[in-house]
């Protein structure tokens, strides 16, 4: 029993990380229709900033964390201004290719200007210890990440539902032209979306770095691919869908990892994606795809 509870906790922890990353992708997609594959490199920017902050002898881990999150937000907003704004009204394929291009350029810059090797940062190791929860030992980092994800979801919902800018962003996801006609500045809406996305990337970066303890040029690429899958499962453009997709993906991954016999170990991903394909057969637009209404832009 204890083992089952332990693995359920692990699934929740996996899901929390995917949900956090998927939210970062979904918030930009819901407004701009852009799948921002450079989201992973924003995470890497945060990681390299941690290296720099630690090297500059900032022993206080709060400074290291603050620097990483700030750098991720700045990088995200900068990318919106430099790379994505010029293609804002272009075909979605152009945006997708731009995102891939930005991702590759940043990865190669990390390779050439920093190092292809992993660089260790030990500043956040203190975040991980073992906690006994009624006989079940869980990692403190898993708890922190799950709590952070819950807090982020609540704050995001409050922002989107209780603030004028949040209302503008929700409206923009349905009909951006109408929002502009109502006097809302388009640039501000896009910049805020990327700022929130960068903030989410920065928070995810803190947990990824606390766990991995090192940064390399591909730090964020694989996690963002998983987040992309979570978004697809949940329904692209839906923030609750992104969260649900993240937790579902985490649960399926952990289940396959521990349930498949060792002889089928190499098939773990095949089973995970097979289950996801079955889900998509059932709900081709994802589990919580935003409902189309008359007048919605497609």
């Amino acid at each position: 029993m204890e083992y089952v509870v332990q693995q359920i906790m692990n699934a929740l922890a996996f899901g929390a990380e995917y949900a956090l990353l998927a939210l970062g992708l979904a918030i930009v997609f819901s407004i701009m229709g852009l799948v921002n594959f450079a989201h992973g490199e924003i995470i890497a920017v945060g990681g390299y900033t941690m290296v720099a902050a630690a090297a500059l002898a900032f022993k206080n881990p709060m400074i290291v964390i603050g620097a990483a999150i700030t750098a991720a937000v700045v990088a995200s907003v900068t990318l919106e201004r430099v790379a994505f704004r010029p293609v804002r009204y272009a075909d979605p394929t152009t945006g997708l290719l731009t995102a891939f291009g930005v991702s590759m350029i940043l990865q190669n810059l990390f390779l050439l200007l920093v190092s292809p090797r992993p660089i260790t940062v030990t500043s956040l190791f203190f975040l991980e210890w073992s906690i006994d929860l009624g006989g079940v030992r869980v990692s403190s980092l898993q708890l922190f990440e799950a709590l952070a994800t819950i807090v982020v979801i609540i704050l995001l919902m409050l922002f989107l539902r209780r603030t004028l800018l949040g209302l503008a962003m929700r409206a923009a996801s349905l009909d951006f032209e109408m929002v502009r006609l109502s006097g809302v500045r388009a640039n501000r809406v896009f910049a805020i979306a990327f700022m929130i996305s960068g903030l989410l990337a920065g928070i995810a970066c803190v947990f990824i770095m606390a766990r991995r303890g090192s940064v390399d040029p591909h730090l964020g690429f694989d996690p963002v691919l998983k987040a992309f899958v979570a978004c697809v499962v949940g329904g692209f453009g839906s923030l609750p869908g992104a969260v649900l997709g993240g937790f579902l993906l985490g649960a399926v991954e952990v289940a396959m990892l521990v349930m498949l016999p060792q002889s089928l170990g190499g098939m773990t991903d095949a089973f995970v994606f097979g289950i996801i394909a079955l889900l998509l057969f059932w709900r081709p637009d994802g589990l919580l795809a935003p409902r189309s209404e008359k007048g919605d832009k497609h």
Partner: protein
């Protein structure tokens, strides 16, 4: 006159080999996931050092280098390009799915591949024979690690396997388990993992559910995954030895213990070559730095072995004919290289018979635990 001119032109175009240089072509990953493991910096540095002392038989060594990424087709194209430029030896990615087609392209030219890091047993299945791996295959490293584990009183082991790294990550743990069982130990469980894992909680929960005292776990994987596994195991209260292969051999593992060196106390690995503080590899890296070439770690340093082997082949054969160089290398009783005193291909033909260093940690610093050729290696791979 016209015929003479055409004949001269044919001779000139058909003779790309320059007599005053010995060319080695390295189509290796200079970018991408495998870039940290490429050997080009060490090769360039060793070539510079040999050239500074007058070269080989009066000829300089020239290392041609170009990025192949991790792409087999690019590596094949680069091999063809280097062959057209007259190289006498090729280097490429240390994976059999690239090495085999590159060797096939090189065969008509009489050129061989020298891969100083390849440990995969697939290469030695007899598909091609114009290649050398400068290190011994994985069963040797698995055995060296298992022998030391048995010396430490290890009885119960857990094996972590993954199909993603071929036999290196899938079968090396099994060879380790074979030797442990032959030594009276027991394999408690085999668990799956993927490269890029940053949360080992599911596997750690499985370990704790075994209810047996685990003495050691064995994994053949890469950094930083290994460091994450070590920290998460310790955090979960599992104090077993963490044992592994050459994937552990990265400076970032040492850096993991910079705040708390004790985290590495029960970690050891069998690897390609000794790279502790007093080793020839570390001295070589320092010497390279002094001449302005950064050789960041053991894997990049192994390129020096490629260059030394070619230099030896040219000197012994007195020729720059690629086939003659390969013969000289293959038939030598003892061939001096950087990463170990000497290697030999005389009895093995394709892989280097050499000692296998087992590296551990004391106070966070690497220590050489043993360095012998194990004599109880499982041979089910031949």
């Amino acid at each position: 006159m016209k015929k003479t001119f055409i004949a001269m032109a044919l001779v000139l175009t058909a003779a790309p080999i320059s007599a005053d240089t010995i060319k080695i072509g390295l189509g290796v990953p200079m970018t991408g996931d495998f870039a940290p493991y490429a050997e080009w910096q060490g090769a360039r540095c060793m070539a510079e050092m040999i050239n500074a002392k007058g070269g080989v038989n009066g000829m300089n060594i020239e290392v041609l280098t170009q990025d192949s990424g991790a792409d087999s087709q690019t590596a094949i194209s680069l091999a063809q390009k280097f062959l057209d430029e007259g190289v006498v030896m090729l280097g490429t990615i240390p994976f059999s799915d690239t090495m085999i087609p590159v060797a096939q392209v090189a065969q008509p030219y009489g050129v061989s591949i020298f891969q100083p890091q390849s440990t995969q047993v697939e290469m030695h299945a007899g598909i091609v024979n114009n290649f050398f791996t400068g290190v011994s295959p994985d069963p040797f490293t698995a055995t060296a690690a298992a022998n030391h584990a048995l010396d430490q009183g290890v009885k119960n082991v857990v094996l972590m396997t993954s199909d993603e790294g071929g036999s290196w990550s899938a079968r090396t743990p099994l060879w380790f388990g074979d030797v442990i069982e032959a030594g009276g130990g027991r394999v408690l469980s085999k668990m799956n993992f993927s490269f890029g894992t940053s949360d080992w909680s599911p596997q750690i929960a499985e370990m704790k559910a075994l209810n047996n005292e685990i003495d050691a776990i064995y994994i053949s994987s890469i950094m930083p995954d290994i460091a994450v596994l070590i920290r998460q195991m310790r955090s979960a209260g599992i104090d077993a030895w963490v044992v592994g292969s050459d994937g552990f051999d990265d400076p970032s593992l040492d850096a993991t213990g910079s705040d708390d060196p004790s985290i590495l106390d029960k970690v050891f690995f069998a690897t390609l070559a000794a790279s502790h503080a007093d080793s020839a590899v570390v001295k070589f890296m320092a010497d390279c730095k002094a001449i302005g070439i950064d050789v960041p770690g053991l894997f990049p340093a192994t390129g020096a072995d490629t260059v030394m082997a070619v230099a030896f082949g040219v000197k012994q054969s007195g020729s720059t004919d690629p086939a003659a160089i390969a013969d000289a290398i293959r038939n030598a009783d003892s061939l001096p290289v950087l990463t170990v005193d000497s290697i030999s291909f005389k009895s093995t033909r394709t892989y280097a018979q050499r000692t296998i260093p087992v590296i551990g940690f004391k106070d966070g610093k690497r220590v050489l635990i043993s360095n012998v050729i194990p004599d109880n290696v499982p041979m089910d791979w031949k």
